[in-house]
Subunit: 234 residues, 2 copies
Amino acid sequence: MRTGARRRMGVEERRQQLIGVALELFSRRSPDEVSIDEIASAAGISRPLVYHYFPGKLSLYEAALTRASDDLANRFVEPREGPLGARLLRVTHRFFDFVDAHGPGFSALMRGGPAVGSSRANALVDGVRQAAYVQILSHLDTDADPDAVPARLELVIRSWISLAESTALIWLDGRRIPRRELEIQLVHDFAALAAVSAAQDEEMAALLRRLLDNEPTDGPFSDLAGRLMALGSA
Amino acid sequence: MRTGARRRMGVEERRQQLIGVALELFSRRSPDEVSIDEIASAAGISRPLVYHYFPGKLSLYEAALTRASDDLANRFVEPREGPLGARLLRVTHRFFDFVDAHGPGFSALMRGGPAVGSSRANALVDGVRQAAYVQILSHLDTDADPDAVPARLELVIRSWISLAESTALIWLDGRRIPRRELEIQLVHDFAALAAVSAAQDEEMAALLRRLLDNEPTDGPFSDLAGRLMALGSA
């Protein structure tokens, strides 16, 4: 027998609702500036009831961050089909979608604001970096055991992930360069970092040649090569 | 009239000694693992006397970090003489000297360990990044007002600083690639990031052409160009 107009939520359902409300607020403003009162109000419940589900703002923040981290890690998943440049461009596009949707929260987290430097938060960020690393590695068609990746290959992939983060942070600070241009630029940066490494190391050179052999003439890697040649001959 | 074998230190002298001792310990192991007892013992004074000069480990850590930040910021200062590639290589070499000397402390700070994520620590790190940015900008011979730098030029410089940080962190994790190779690679990376940006933007292309015109044929930028051409024709 149901009484009352509003259905009562179960515990897990209420927790998930609060996480969603909090994530929305933490995405639009720096988490430091969002109060429990505001979260309660946006969820349509009382402040004490929020504390019933989450002992404090930090635990709610960490739950929201866990959801966001899972979301971001999933965006790096890309079918191993078609040219590498186009795959990387799709991944970069989804990464910027995420950054676009969670701008202020992303900036506060990555810049290590006071309330967000918890060790749990750091572990979640590192988890996303590792997921991105494993994904990208799997696209490079190396036979390398993931636990014994050549040091220079690991450096290129991890450096590029770090470059994607810093490019996104700089973009968020004023959005002075069109997003689409930066997505293409990051794909070009990947090729550039790999080429610099290949210029020093025969193993990287062999890998790069294999990757570029499979690139179509209208893909982002060929586009970069064409533009650099035009630059050199100008 | 002097009595006793050991001279008594003045307050500021003692503070500076403690900062030096703490910095040495924080450089060799993660600051989280260094106790006040250990710092007292290394300085040859009692634990309560350490607290007389610094209210707690965090304030001593921040004082040590302030000294280290000043040191690191100074390493980016380079005379505006001679080819740019060689200047950048000297800066990168001094940066790696610093990273080499302060490895575990540098890693703990940049990876945001629990005791080191204070807002004062973050502000010091940002201060070093800004000092590095202003220095590098001053070497590029642009007429740009430092407060109105073209967005793409700012992005290249700040991205490169971030790349230097992540390369150093990855290097510290096992030191699997010779330091000297990474120093040259970072200088090459700068040219590569600038070239990728120049491939999209006429203003950056003009800047890059001006910079490369002044490079000698035996400098690191020409070295990269030669290696890439060899790679392309192999």
